[in-house]
Amino acid sequence: MNKFYLISFLFVVSIGYSQQISGIVLDSESDLPIPGATVLVKGTTIGTNTDFDGNFFLDNISQGDILIVSSVGFVTQEVVVDPQLNYVVILNEDVETLDEVVVMGYGTQLKKEVTGAVSIVGSETIEKVKPTRVEQALQGQVAGVNITSQSGSPGGGLDIRIRGISTNGDNRPLILVDGNVIEELSVLNPSDIASITVLKDASAGIYGTRASNGVILITTKIGRRSTPLKFEYNNYFGFQETTRILPVLNATEYSLLTNESFAAGGKQIPYPTIADLGQGTNWQKEVFQKAPITNHDISVRGGGDKSTYSIGFSAFDQDGIVGGDKASFKRLTGRINYNVELFDNFNLKANFIYANTQRKTLPENSIGSLLYNAINMPPTLTPYDDNGDFTRATDLGNEVVNPLKQKDLSLNLTTADRFSGVFGLKYDILPELNVEANYQANYTEVFGQYFSPTSDYGAEGVFGDKVFDREDPGYSQPLDIYRDYTVDILVNYEQEFAGKHDVKFTLGNSIFRTFADGFGVSAEGLPNIDRIEDVRLADASIVTPRFINVDNRFSDSRLLSYFSRFRYSYDDKYYLTAVLRRDASSNFGPGNSIGFFPTASIGWILSEENFLSNSNLFDFLKFKASYGFLGNDRIGSFLYTSTLSGEGVYVFDNQIVYGVAPGSPSNPNVKWEEQQALNLGVEMRLFNDHVNLGFDYFKRRTNDLLLLVETSRVVGVSAPGSGAPIANAGSVENSGIEIEFAYQDTFFNELDFGLNFNFSTLDNVVTEVNNQIGYEIGGGFGIGGFEGPSRMEVGYPIGYFYGLQTDGIFQSVDEVDAHASQRSLGSEAVPGDFRYVNQNGDDKIDEDDRVYLGDPIPDYTMGLNISLDYKNIDFSAYAFASLGSEIVRNYERNLDLTNKSAYKLNRWRGIGTTDTDPRVTTAANSNSRFSDYFVEDGSYLRVQNIQIGYTFSDENSKLDILRPWIKASAESIRFYASVGNAFTLTNYKGFDPTTSTGSPVGGGFDLGFYPNPRTYSVGFNIKF
């Protein structure tokens, strides 16, 4: 087959100057013929379609006629009929052009007609970035979308934030895969994705009450009609390593400093002899390891006369750089897309995705997590004692233990099976009228296996001197089942009047329901095991069934929506879109459940106007504006009503008895939060389409924020099983500008150069918190200490850091005496301690002297992609940067005997030694109070991916070199090598400035985040 086309390509299809011509239409990428392409003689109705082999024949053609060759998904080409030329028409796949079809809510739209702020990531970007999770494909690629990872551990979650954050509750955007709600993107194989569309402004309004955090629409790859089977296999493998080892004290330095601090505290020094201690153990080096990563995926695509199909399988396996296979992630996916024209104009689509993920986890980003311990374990201790057992960690607080033992004893596995199906029927009643019914459903089982073996980390035989100690093994096995379905009914009408008035109208009805059940058991009296796979419930002596909230159903949310969209365009110059959606949500009480969400947008393509039609500068120029109301109902079920979901447990007759109690206080008045979103934008193409430039300004004001509000405890919020009530109690404003710039050109005929750059600014300010105190609190610093080191407060960015401001170090007793007393912080200051700024001017330093110390929201984010293709060699590099965020160093335990960061060598040792780092001492002091000392600049620039590849293909005849090894008639093979997370420029002292818990209030406290690994990989891609 391939050879045949090769011949067709090489041997020009000859035509006489007679009235009949013939030719072939080929796909530029694959060189495969394109069946069903339209060939039309310009200005006439004469035309034909190509046959299965891409051939076409046309009669009555004159020299000088122009053929318009088009096919969906390809750039339309015009060819002048000239008998001297061949009619091999090679169509380019339609990528990154303005004729691109953009997937919008409930339908598609040509990109040039889009009037909202919409960004698209295509499959080629995903291929280059090679993300392990879909979210990474968006990181730095799209202006206004900020991605942070909760953890660099395999399978760790990522947070997507579109144009800032607005609530201390749920900030996640709505994510739809082929129209189906999928919130957990870890189940999707990134290479199955055809495109990702991000709706950032009021154009998301068609999703009404679910749209205020933005909407992400993902489409998976589909086949094309009347194409032969196309087979593709991708494989890569590589290894990962840590990007950073934090500088901490070595054994000699540690002992010296510890002695100094004990002496200063009036205690006997613990290390009288230091001479032989040397470097000691570097616990981080013990904990970090190189870890493998592999991926395989196979896909098959094609189509018959009336149908298309696309089938894919993938297997992904990643071990952790901390913990190896104890922190691993395995994913198997299978996917099938099938579309068929059942009758004339009557289409059925059926998509099905199955994913199985297995994730093993270690304690991370918490006090006492592996990395936390690796930083805080003294270098004087060895990993193993003389008997070969794990060294015990005594005298290091309740949390600091031997991280290697912790790894050994971590036995956790979460297995998730997800089935997603989409079934759609579409009937074109008339060419201009069609109806569509789609049924989408997900079923997910999350099965947890958590084993807690006997563990004795501290003093031998003492169970309880460490919080992780456990005398008897315990096991819990929760099973949570999530189900949801969506039914959409759409009527689409499209008509052109008088050649210039184009009207499109969509009317729709949608219902959505999601509900979840939880079951499970916990067990005791099991034998210890080495692998979580070996646990057997049958071995347990006590098995206790577990149900959530007495009953097993723990959520049920429903949404009923009607929506209409009206699009009007005049003369391909002026565009108007108006949307109205009405939602009824079960999350709100009867009086508040219904919301109306109108949005409108306009576009004006100036380049179509006469005054610009001859412009040398602008190939395309469009102004656009949108404004509208969006909503948010993302709160738990039944919060408007008061239920007996609290915990009422007591002991009678020496037996635990279970009763009932009210849960979190209800708020019958809670209603959807409302956002007013404005977007103003310009899009242009310049310099013969070599440059694409987009500029947007946005302002989102979210009112009636759904907040879990800090509430007086007289209402019982601190009772067991209770919690903060939800209320519409605030407003937040996010505004900024976004610039997207792309440059594409070919040099010397063979060097393709591409550059994409995006830049966004974000200004987040809380404008109202209506809970009496004007702020919400969150986060935690160290152990004990002030409540709420992170705040959401009027006039500040959400989740800003709130603590004491230091003003150098007290050098002398006189300086201490001259300053307000710091006793309220825990102890009176002495020389060598921090001098805290007396903000309120009273006679003491206390919690009232806390101020703004920074915030975790970056002011500027940007991304840069560069690609170079020269002959068979391709190169790409991709970087992103974030500036102006702060991060809190919170991974230092700072106990008398824990290890310290290396910068502690600069501690204060006497008058004039330093004005930045306080003395070391075991005596009571207030230097660990949350202050700006622990707040660092979290700005960074990360080179995320560098990749170089070489392609052997029939086209360049290089494939023959590989023939001896490749029996199959491969069409092309590409080999590549890449480095992921190549390097990061930052001043931040911790492991990784890109991670965050994702909490809007209380995020940005680094307890030893599991860093994102650097990955070296090689791979190949083969196409048949």
Binding site: T394, I429, A459, E460, G461, V462, F463, G464, D465, D472, G474, V487, I511, E524, N549, N552, D556, R558, S586, S593, S637, S642, T643, L644, S645, G646, E647, G648, Y650, F652, D653, N654, I656, Y658, G659, V660, A661, P662, P665, S666, N669, E710, R713, G716, V717, S718, A719, P720, S722, A727, Q772, F786, R823, S824, G826, D846, E847, D896, T922, N925
Partner: protein, 592 residues
């Protein structure tokens, strides 16, 4: 025809969904029961009552922090900043920002809300046992309000209705006198309807309500009323002092043993007629309850036997105290394969007037102290890094908070049997065991005094999983008969027409037990007796969380507590944020 079919299908599909989807689709009810539609049966009242009892377990901070606030103990902990809010209270430098104070505030109000929840719906259905349930709810409300008023003075008083979200604004602080009136009313009504004995151990009895009412009167200097109600309690003869003070707190004989001997895994094993207990010290003649599903021949399950101590880790059993003292033991040979357990009834004993029940059967978590069914104060009080070779006798490791001072230890007469039961002298303990060949080590925490609050420190136990520090089952003896006797003594001594004869009788009952003889009984009267009773309260109730409030109510706090400022520290500050969250209309307590 075909076209018609398709059109029909489509039309049908659309009409089906559009019609089906009225707004009724989103009217869905929770599987959890609606709070407003509850209380339809006795079972539902009982279930809600369990919810109201639950917060009693959260009073562990009231006891722990209350004791630390007094002159009995120091804060301790790992280092000077461990539990800094508690350290501040110890040093009397606490401020309106204090985690523990806000917990106490919130948990007591949570308890009140749950009691009021029941009382809000008390008229809904009728059944025979309802007065008993309502009376328990009233007692609990009174108990929680009494705690609040002791700690914070005037607080909002809300009766027979919950404070719902939204109701918190505009609540005024009710004068202390009005709160006490309500407490007295609740308790008086509870006394009417409560039985002298409940079917289940741990439930509030009439005696508990009388004891609490007597205490409330005492706090209000209503001595005659206090004496009267406490006399009723005492004369009911439902309560008595446990003969040995040593039998009050140390639940150290609760163990299981398996018949398979020579099993090193078990602390206890049976060998012929002897029971080996690794770390056990019992007094010969001590009563133990025996239970087993398949009892050893010669024993019957559920019966009480008496220990004969062979050596420090071996006992035999006898049928009576007398036989035990005469070394006449039961032959235990021929036992069957089964688990057996022996325990002494230290908890819910005859002396227990009201006892907060705890259990070690459910794990605890640092994330939710109020969710634990265990007594968290016990783990906090525990000896730091306590460990022994070949085993650590009796105790388990803890966090070394709430450490008694040398002065508190010295306050006891050396002949006072209570001293070594109330306060563990760790050096002495280590020396005693060293003589028996057991070497014990321990860690010194912050403000190490060498003493621990022995009544409430963690014991060796296997069930308190997963964290032995959060799941200790030690019940808190909230109102002991000895406390009642001393309160009655004080009331009789201080009432307008004092009855020092009765006061002395009550006082000397306590003292006689304390010394094991009558040699130390007192004959003083009047103010001297008052002082002696107050001192006796300290010694008898050491470590039980009463001292600070006794010193405050008797106006002596400034004389004893370092840093105590009269006019300020009698009350703790209302958590500042709570003042703001209720609308910022309350005045802070004076001095803060």
């Amino acid at each position: 025809m075909k076209k018609f079919t398709k059109t029909f299908i489509i039309t049908f599909l659309i009409s089906f969904f559009v019609v089906a989807c009225s707004d009724d689709f989103v009217r869905v009810t929770s599987n959890n029961i609606d709070t407003e539609n509850y209380f339809n049966s006795e079972e539902e009242f009982e279930s809600a009552l369990i919810g109201a009892y639950d917060l009693l377990q959260s009073t562990f901070y009231n006891v722990l922090v209350g004791e630390i606030a007094s002159d009995n103990t120091l804060a301790g902990g790992e280092n000077a900043s461990d539990g800094s809010a508690i350290q501040q209270i110890d040093d009397m430098i606490h401020t309106p920002v204090n985690v523990q104070l806000r917990d106490i505030w919130g948990w007591m109000f949570a308890g009140i809300n749950r009691a009021n929840f029941i009382l809000e719906f008390q008229e809904k259905v009728d059944f025979e046992n309802k007065p008993n349930i309502i009376a328990q709810a009233k007692f609990l409300r009174a108990y929680y309000y009494f705690e609040l008023v002791k700690w914070f003075g005037p607080v909002p008083l809300v009766v027979d209705q919950r404070i719902n979200f939204g109701d918190q604004f505009g609540l005024d602080r009710t004068p202390v006198a009005d709160i006490y009136s309500q407490i007295e009313k609740d308790l008086a009504e509870a006394i009417q309807d409560l039985p002298e004995q409940q079917l289940m151990i741990g439930k509030v009895t009439k005696g508990a309500a009388q004891g609490l009412l007597g205490k409330v009167y005492l706090y209000n200097d209503k001595f005659a009323e206090s004496a009267d109600i406490l006399d009723q309690l005492i004369s009911s003869n439902n309560y008595d002092l446990v003969p040995l003070f040593a039998d009050l707190f140390e639940n150290d004989t609760n163990f299981e043993f398996l018949t398979s001997s020579n099993d090193d895994e078990n602390d206890v094993h049976l060998d012929s007629d002897q029971i080996h207990i690794e770390d056990h010290i019992l007094v010969t003649g001590k009563d133990v309850l025996y239970t087993s599903e398949s009892p050893v021949e010669g024993l019957s399950s559920g019966s009480t036997y008496y220990a004969i101590v062979v050596d420090y880790n071996t006992i035999k059993l006898a049928n009576s105290k007398l036989e035990a003292e005469s070394n006449i033991s039961i032959d235990l040979t021929g036992f069957s394969e089964s688990a057996h357990s022996l325990y002494a009834q230290f908890e819910n004993s005859i002396e227990s007037v009201f006892e907060v029940q705890y259990s070690d059967q459910e794990g605890g978590s640092f994330d939710c102290f109020q969710c634990s069914e265990g007594n968290i104060a016990v783990g906090f009080n525990g000896i730091r890094k306590y460990i022994g070779t070949p085993f650590g006798p009796r105790f388990e490791s803890g966090y070394s908070f709430n450490v008694p001072t040398q002065e508190a230890y010295d306050a006891y007469n050396a002949a006072d049997l209570r001293r070594d039961i109330s306060i563990l002298n760790i050096e002495k303990w280590v020396a005693e065991w060293a003589e028996l060949g057991v070497s014990i080590t321990y860690g010194e925490g912050n403000e190490h005094t060498g003493f621990f609050n022995r009544k409430y420190i963690s014991r060796r136990r296997d069930l308190n999983i997963p964290d032995p520090n959060l799941t200790n089952p030690n019940n808190y003896r909230a109102i002991r008969f000895a406390d009642v006797l001393l309160m009655a003594a004080e009331a009789h001594n201080r009432k307008t027409n004092p009855d020092d004869v009765k006061a002395l009788e009550y006082m000397n009952r306590v003292r006689t037990r304390a010394f094991g003889n009558t040699d130390y009984n007192t004959v003083a009267t009047g103010n001297t007796l008052t002082q002696l009773i107050w001192n006796e309260r300290r010694l008898e109730l050491m470590g039980e969380g009463h001292r600070f409030f006794d010193l405050v109510r008797t106006g002596q706090a400034a004389n004893y507590i370092d840093g105590f400022e009269t006019g300020k520290h009698e009350l703790f500050p209302i958590p500042g944020v709570e003042i703001e969250l209720t609308g910022n209309i309350w005045e802070q307590n004076p001095g803060y």
